[in-house]
C-alpha cells in the first residue's frame, strides 16, 4: 500500500516506526494515514481544512479533525505525537516559521515536504522569461496560487538552524524520482526533511 503513494509520502511512510503516534497536517483524503494504519499499525490522526476531504477520511475509519493548520495546532498538547507530518503545505502557511515551531512542539519529530523554488526550471523561468514561474512543480499563476511563502531548500535549512531544529534526514526528488543530495538546491523539485529538537 505504501508503494502506491506519492514519492514524498512514500519516503515519509517508510521512515515512520511501527505502532507510533502520527499527526498528518493537511492530510487530504487520508491516503498516507490509512497506509500507515494498515501497514504499520500506527495511531493515525489528521487535520484537514476541506470538509469533503474530512468526510472521505472518516469513511476510511480515520480520526481526522476539520481545522486550519495555521490556528488549530494550538489545540494539541505538547509531544502528543511521535511524528507530525506537513506535506506540500509549508509554503501555504501564514507564518511557516511558527508552523515549524508548532510541528516540533506537538511532535517529537517532524516530516516537512515542500516544492523547491530554487529548482533550475523555476530559476530559468524567472531569469529568461522575467515572469513569475509557472512550472510542473508550481503550476498555478502568481495571483491565484496558495503558495504565499515560496521557499528554497537552502532557505529551509537556514530556518531549521535558526529554530534550533536538527535535520535528521533529508530526501530530494526530481521527475518523481529520488535524486542525490549534491546540488539539490538546483536539481530538486521537491524536498523532504525529517527534523527534531
Amino acid at each position: 500500500m505504501v508503494d502506491g503513494l506519492r514519492p514524498d509520502l512514500a519516503v515519509i511512510a517508510h521512515n515512520i516506526a511501527a505502532s507510533s503516534r502520527v499527526l498528518d497536517i493537511g492530510c487530504g483524503d487520508g491516503s498516507l494515514l490509512s497506509a500507515l494504519r494498515d501497514t504499520k499499525q500506527v495511531d493515525a490522526r489528521g487535520l484537514e481544512i476541506e470538509p469533503s476531504q474530512v468526510e472521505r477520511c472518516v469513511a476510511r475509519g480515520l480520526s481526522v479533525v476539520q481545522g486550519d493548520a495555521n490556528s488549530d495546532l494550538a489545540d494539541y498538547p505538547d509531544k502528543a505525537f511521535d511524528y507530525t507530518i506537513l506535506s506540500q503545505t509549508l509554503q501555504t502557511a501564514t507564518r511557516p516559521d511558527r508552523m515549524l515551531d508548532e510541528l516540533l512542539r506537538v511532535g517529537n519529530q517532524a516530516f516537512v515536504s515542500f516544492p523547491n523554488f530554487a529548482h533550475w526550471r523555476t530559476r530559468a523561468a524567472l531569469m529568461f522569461g522575467g515572469r513569475m514561474p509557472v512550472t510542473r512543480a508550481l503550476p498555478v499563476s502568481w495571483y491565484e496560487t496558495q503558495n504565499i511563502h515560496h521557499v528554497t531548500i537552502d532557505d529551509f535549512r537556514e530556518l531549521a538552524r535558526e529554530k534550533g531544529a536538527q535535520i535528521a534526514q533529508s530526501w530530494y526528488f526530481s521527475n518523481g524520482k529520488q535524486i542525490g543530495a549534491t546540488g539539490a538546491n538546483w536539481r530538486a523539485e521537491f524536498a523532504v526533511f525529517q527534523l527534531s529538537r
Binding site: 470538509p51 468526510e55 472521505r56 472518516v58 469513511a59 480520526s63 481526522v64 489545540d75
Partner: protein, 370 residues
C-alpha cells in the same frame, strides 16, 4: 397523554440514584428496537433523543401518527442500517412517552407533578445504562445523539467509558451557555405563568397549561432554525390575506407557522416534562462534573483504548454553534482520544441534524461502518 403508550418497557430492578442525592424507585424505561441483535451482541446502536423527542425513532408516533423522527436515517438499507445493526431508542426519564416522569404515579398512587425530583442529563443516562443492563448489552457498537441526545452520548462516554465503541455527537455541546439557559427560562416561565399550570397539579383536571407550553415551544422553535431558513421559508409574506389586518391575528406566515407548531406540540407533550427536561439541559456542564476540566471527562479514552469519537456541527446552528463542538474536540485531543470532527454547511440551523443533509448522511455512515 397516557404513559402506557410504549410497546416495550423495562422496569429497572434497582432504585435509580440521582445527582440531586435523591433516588427514584420503580423506574420504567420505554423503548423501541429495530433490527436483530447479533448472537454476540456486538451490533447494538443506541440512539439518544433530543428534548422533545421520543423512542419512536423509526416508527409512527402513536399520538400524531407522523413518521418516526429519524425515519430518514434509520431503517433497512438506510444510513443506520437495521439489516446490520440492532437499534435501540429509549424515552428518557423525565419525559412523557412511557418512561417514568412527572406524569407518572408516585408511591401514593397520585401523579408526581412537581414532586418529581429534578434530574440531570447524567441521570437520564443512568436510566439508559439501566436499560442496557436489563437487555444484557455490555458494549454498544455506537451511541448516537443530536442536540440533547449528543449530551447523553457525551455523558455516557465520560461516565461509562467502557459502554460504547463509537460515540457520534451531532449539533451538541458539553455545557449550556447563558443564552441557552435564557431561552429555556422564557419557556419555563411561559408554562408556569399559565393559570392552568396550577403548580404542576393539572393531571386529571379538565384543562392543562397548553397555552404556556405552546408559547414555550414557539420560542424554542425559533432557536432551532436559522435566520436564513426563516427568511427563505416565510420572508414577510402574509398568511391567507392580501393586506395587514391592523390587528393581532396571525397576519404573517411565520406567526401562523409558529402558532401551529406550538399548538401541535401540546397534543403530544407534557408541560411538566418540558420543565424538567429543560432544567436537566441547563444543569449540563460536563467539565464541571469532572473537576472543571473537560479533558478529564474523557480520561477513560486514552490512545489505543476506549471509544472513537466523531463530532459534527452545522455552520447555520446558532443554538449550539461550531465553537461548542470544537471545544469538545479540543478536550478529546488533550485527553488523547481518537476524534474526528467536521463542520457541515446546511441552511436549516440547529434542526439540520434532523433534515436532509447528504453530507451528514455520508459522515455518519462512514463513521458507523468504518
Amino acid at each position: 397523554m397516557s404513559p402506557t403508550l410504549a410497546s416495550n418497557s423495562l422496569k429497572l430492578a434497582q432504585d435509580l440514584p440521582l445527582d440531586s442525592g435523591q433516588a427514584l424507585s420503580g423506574v420504567e424505561v420505554a423503548y423501541e428496537t429495530y433490527g436483530e441483535l447479533a448472537a454476540d451482541k456486538s451490533n447494538a446502536i443506541l440512539i439518544c433523543h433530543a428534548l422533545t423527542g421520543d423512542q419512536y425513532v423509526a416508527s409512527d408516533h402513536p399520538i400524531t401518527g407522523k413518521l418516526g423522527w429519524w425515519e430518514r436515517v434509520v431503517g433497512p438499507g438506510k444510513v443506520i442500517d437495521t439489516d446490520r445493526y440492532h437499534v435501540i431508542c429509549a424515552n428518557v426519564i423525565g419525559s412523557c412517552m412511557g418512561s417514568t416522569g412527572p406524569a407518572s404515579l408516585a408511591s401514593d398512587g397520585k401523579p408526581y407533578g412537581m414532586r418529581f425530583p429534578v434530574i440531570t442529563i447524567r441521570d437520564m443516562v443512568r436510566g439508559l445504562v439501566g436499560l442496557l443492563d436489563g437487555l444484557g448489552i455490555e458494549r454498544l457498537h455506537t451511541v448516537i445523539g443530536g442536540s440533547m441526545g449528543g449530551m447523553q452520548a457525551l455523558s455516557l462516554a465520560a461516565n461509562w467509558p467502557e459502554r460504547a465503541e463509537r460515540v457520534l455527537v451531532i449539533a451538541s455541546t458539553a455545557r449550556h451557555s447563558a443564552q441557552n439557559i435564557a431561552f429555556h427560562e422564557v419557556g419555563r416561565q411561559a408554562i408556569m405563568a399559565d393559570p392552568n399550570w396550577r403548580e404542576g397539579e393539572y393531571y386529571g383536571a379538565d384543562s392543562s397549561p397548553d397555552n404556556g407550553l405552546a408559547v414555550a415551544r414557539m420560542a424554542a422553535h425559533i432557536t432551532y432554525l436559522s435566520e436564513e431558513g426563516l427568511t427563505e421559508k416565510f420572508g414577510r409574506r402574509l398568511q391567507d390575506r392580501d393586506a395587514k389586518s391592523f390587528g393581532f391575528d396571525a397576519d404573517f406566515q411565520v406567526e401562523s407557522y409558529l402558532r401551529y407548531q406550538g399548538s401541535g406540540f401540546t397534543q403530544r407533550f407534557d408541560a411538566n416534562s418540558y420543565l424538567y427536561i429543560t432544567r436537566a439541559m441547563d444543569y449540563f456542564d460536563l467539565a464541571e462534573e469532572h473537576g472543571g476540566k473537560l479533558a478529564d471527562a474523557f480520561a477513560g479514552h486514552v490512545m489505543g483504548k476506549g471509544a472513537r469519537f466523531c463530532l459534527i456541527s452545522f455552520d447555520s446552528d446558532w443554538l449550539y454553534p461550531t465553537a461548542e463542538s470544537r471545544h469538545i474536540v479540543h478536550a478529546l485531543n488533550a485527553a488523547g482520544a481518537p476524534v474526528s470532527f467536521v463542520e457541515l454547511s446546511a441552511p436549516f440551523g440547529h434542526d439540520s441534524f434532523l433534515l436532509d443533509v447528504p453530507a451528514l448522511d455520508r459522515v455518519m455512515k462512514g463513521f458507523i461502518d468504518g
